[in-house]
């Protein structure tokens, strides 16, 4: 039997896909969403921009047919708050990242590992992690994280505009 398919999402295009992950109501956990919203008008015609609010496990669905994906999410790795990390799917450090909040049992690193195990990673995946400080209930970013959001916006835009079509220098090990 064939796997159920969906007609709700827009059809995949050749454009790179930027996915902001987070929860608007958990303090700094909204940082990934803020980046996606700021990038949407700036990257019009250059990239698709999606928001993932259903927990990191939702990524496996959103990037299903995409080839080149940049994910931006709040993370907690112990670095100073507002630090912007850039990792590729094969980086071991990724699995060490705990999600900023507990969402459905899977962190960002775990979602990437699960996708790798199932063979459904995008061909090229880069993760931007913004170190969170406060993920209590409530709306609003810590000032250091707000600066991290600005940095991530600039770096992702530069990354996509400097070489919008080229492959990343390294590939995911699963596809090597």
């Amino acid at each position: 039997m064939s796997e159920p398919t969906l007609s709700i999402r827009p059809p995949p295009g050749p454009l790179p896909l930027v996915i902001g992950v987070g929860n608007d109501h958990r303090g700094d956990d909204r940082s990934g969403l803020e980046v996606a919203r700021a990038l949407r008008p700036r990257l019009e015609g250059k990239a698709r921009v999606e928001e993932c609010v259903s927990g990191e496990i939702g990524l496996l669905d959103i990037w299903r047919d995409a080839d080149r994906v940049l994910v931006v999410d709040a993370v907690r790795s112990g670095a100073p708050s507002g630090t912007v990390h850039r990792l590729e799917a094969g980086d071991a450090a990724l699995l060490g990242f705990r999600g900023a909040t507990s969402t459905h049992g899977l962190s960002l690193g775990e979602a990437v590992a699960l996708a790798a195990g199932l063979g459904c990673l995008p061909r090229q995946l880069v993760v931007y992690g913004i170190e969170a400080e406060n993920v209590e209930m409530g709306v609003g970013l810590t000032p250091s994280v707000a600066r991290g959001v600005e940095e991530a916006i600039a770096r992702i835009q530069a990354e996509l505009e400097s070489d919008p079509t080229a492959a990343f220098p390294t590939r995911n090990p699963a596809h090597a």
Partner: protein, 431 residues
């Protein structure tokens, strides 16, 4: 004298954050505490002074897994307060939306959170290496549930289309019919999930539960029916507080619920199934029989099979609702003006069990008081009882094995600890 203490500081594969403390002295269990240290929730206080129309959207934020439950309980409570009657296609659409939430929540738990316990894996990532098909099926099925929520709710998490009185927009017949192939494709996957679950090895344990759920006259419970139990409780769903009460315990931010004069009780799939098995569809009923599920399941580990049966039911029910759907002329019933203080309460069946909401609305429509009792806080004391019995049976186990066993026993009930925390009244705690 020997004393053993087991601490589990972080409970994996449980939504939210919780911890467990067990104290054993001279080979006797002295204390079992399921702790909840997620930041206290201010939702009940936050709702005061807001328009009653905002309650479905605000309370949906309490949980990323069961937002529909919060929307449904708040809508029904407000509508009861205002004497509104919502039926026909709008009622059916609400049921359809709930089907989507049950599917996505149950499938997530069965394949990704619970199955690793039975198959000996620390998590779904490790399990996926040996059981890629099971995990793929889980993701595909979960997606069908999420898509149904998107179709009706506008988006999958925190649906934005639900309002007091109905929906901002009702889907067309064509829109719903176009979704049938997804559901038809999901049905065999869900049946396979039941067989997958039923073939797992289960500890041979039964607990003497007081099962509590809604029980409507003619259907498996979601939005309607009285609150009933297998020990004689039967009250209208807005009278939950006549029978149950919340008590504060020092070790948890969440309030624990008990039946007045009795004690702990269980809500969720085992209870719905025990009290409403006769309302299953023939196909779900037959499937339950074919995998040897008794009419009442007292083995908490077998909740994984019952979640599978409920998933099959929800898919079949969704197909039935779509088949009979007629688009309503108006997608919502207009609420009357609020001219005096009114109170209303409702209980609906979240995937994890009954969710109670009560509101007092002042003249003009601002919320004056809110009370929300989540299924996990209702189950918390019962989970501690399960753990107590488990530890008593398992004193010979070494520390690590016993700790794992305790974590498994907690996950049997799919606790959503994010939902269960309330604002703790500090002045009361000092007494």
């Amino acid at each position: 004298m020997t004393e053993r203490t087991i601490h589990v500081d972080y409970l994996a594969r449980v939504e939210g954050e919780g911890a467990l403390k067990v104290r054993i002295r001279d080979n006797r269990v002295e204390e079992v505490q399921l702790k909840i240290f997620e930041p206290p929730r201010f939702f009940e206080a936050f709702l005061r002074g807001r328009s009653y129309l905002e309650a479905p959207d605000i309370t949906a934020r309490i949980c990323g897994i069961c937002p529909v439950a919060y929307q449904m309980s708040s809508c029904h409570a407000m509508e009861r307060a205002l004497g509104m009657k919502v039926d026909g296609p709008i009622r059916e659409l609400r049921r359809l939306l709930y089907c989507g939430e049950w599917i996505e929540s149950h499938v997530l738990h069965v394949y990704l959170l619970h199955a690793p316990d039975f198959l000996g894996y620390p998590d779904a990532i490790q399990m996926a290496k040996d059981y890629p098909e099971a995990v793929q099926h889980g993701l595909a099925l979960k997606k069908v549930g999420n898509s149904l929520m998107t179709l009706l709710g506008g988006r999958e998490i925190h649906p934005i289309n639900v309002r007091i009185g109905g929906f901002y927009r009702a889907p067309t017949v064509e829109e719903l019919r176009a979704f049938r192939p997804e559901l038809e494709g999901a049905l065999p996957l869900a049946e396979e999930m039941v067989h997958f679950a039923a073939d797992l090895d289960f500890p041979d344990i039964e607990e003497d539960y007081e099962f509590v759920s809604l029980r409507p006259e003619k259907e498996y419970p979601m939005n309607e029916g009285d609150v009933v139990s297998n020990r004689g409780v039967k009250v209208p769903q807005d009278r939950w507080e006549d029978v149950f009460e919340e008590v504060q315990v020092p070790h948890s931010n969440a309030l624990q619920s008990v039946r007045k004069g009795a004690g702990s009780y269980l809500v969720g799939p085992l209870s719905r199934y025990a009290l409403n098995r006769d309302h299953l569809t023939p196909r779900a009923d037959q499937l339950a029989r074919s995998v040897g599920l008794p009419d009442i399941v007292r083995n908490p580990y077998k909740s994984i099979v019952v979640r599978g049966i409920e998933t099959v039911y929800a898919i079949e029910e969704a197909l039935r609702l779509i088949e009979h759907y007629h688009r309503p002329e108006r997608s919502w019933v207009e609420p009357p003006p609020v001219t005096k203080t009114v109170t209303g309460a409702a209980t609906t069946e979240a995937p994890r069990g009954i969710l109670f909401h009560r509101y007092r609305i002042g003249a003009g429509g601002l919320i004056e008081d809110a009370k929300i009792v989540a299924p996990t806080s209702q189950n918390q004391k019962r989970i501690e009882d399960d753990l107590w019995h488990l530890v008593e049976r398992s004193l010979a186990l070494d520390e690590a094995t016993l700790t794992d066993a305790c974590e498994r026993a907690i996950r049997n009930h799919d606790p959503c600890i994010s939902c269960a925390t309330h604002f703790l009244q500090l002045d009361l705690e000092r007494q």
